[in-house]
């Protein structure tokens, strides 16, 4: 399973690709940061991010796209641009019928460092160690994109198994209710 992780942004948009294997084995494939000039118009910036993501989807053909979930507790102006960038990333994936999953920054940090409150440095150090890189990916957006992909590879199966177990439980409960109702009708 190959995951393309995206840390969305207009000034810097981190993109990283990681392959998953058996268990927790992961392999680094590629990473880069797309930059768009702050003085360019918003539509042009979104187009540049979109084009870059499309090129990466074509070049690396991931199975899933993992995107950082944007929150709005920070600077409003920045958050709006980030949300718009994440929208065009999700759109590019949807156009290719690729599943898109969103992970919160704390989920990502917890997945790679064990703590949802880890700082950028810790995330960078763990991404470097996990992927056996020779140096810390820079800027932090690059490390974050790889961390997102790792997070998805490690959390994804758990979430999927949980969803499956819940579906089975619901199915069993439904069958049980049906049997009860049938028994009542026979009485």
């Amino acid at each position: 399973m190959r995951v393309l992780g995206v840390d969305p942004g207009l000034t810097r948009c981190g993109i990283g690709v990681v392959d998953g294997g058996h268990g927790r084995a992961v392999r680094f494939v590629a990473v880069d940061v797309v930059r768009t000039p702050a003085d360019a118009e918003l539509p042009e910036r979104l187009l540049a991010v979109s084009d870059a993501v499309e090129r990466w989807l074509d070049a690396h053909r991931p199975d899933t796209v993992a995107v950082e979930r944007v929150f709005s507790q920070h600077n409003v102006r920045t958050v709006m641009g980030t949300a718009q960038a994440s929208g065009v990333v999700a759109l590019a994936a949807a156009r290719r019928s690729l599943p898109v999953v969103f992970h919160t920054p704390s989920e990502v940090k917890a997945a790679v460092t064990g703590s949802g409150r880890a700082d950028k440095k810790q995330v960078g150090a763990m991404v470097t160690r996990i992927l056996r890189l020779t140096e810390v990916p820079r800027p932090a957006d690059a490390a974050d994109a790889l961390a997102l992909a790792i997070c998805h590879l490690w959390r994804g199966p758990v979430s999927a198994r949980l969803a499956q177990a819940q579906a089975q439980a619901a199915q069993l409960a439904k069958a049980h209710r049906a049997r009860l109702a049938a028994a009542r009708r026979k009485e």
Copy 2:
């Protein structure tokens, strides 16, 4: 000049087309509201909005796209979806090299009702009157999309003239400074 106005949203996205003429003459062309199911996945919803906007751009060939500027003072969840929808709208326009302009809700309200604090009902009533429609466009998102297009047609030239005047003033000031500097060098 033909303007396509978009009141971005995932649950309801208003799209309206208005033609401008001499002075303040405007003509209604079309209006609709794109809806996406609340239980669908975000990427699917963004794709539906994007596809609808692309169809409208192809069908009506506007000269400019006017989009409501999103603020984040409201419900965070809704605002993020709205920002993402506005991002894919801006992207669709940028892909066609169409200019995209953003107008704030209060600019739009002020343009059509004279007050930046007008309510939805007032905006609907004025849009109906300005475009000489037989009934108020419903839901409010449809009226808002038309109001955005009208706002751009009425404000656009003023903003453009203002920007031009400012550019000329800056040019004159620069030339004046250059002359002063040249005069000083000769002294």
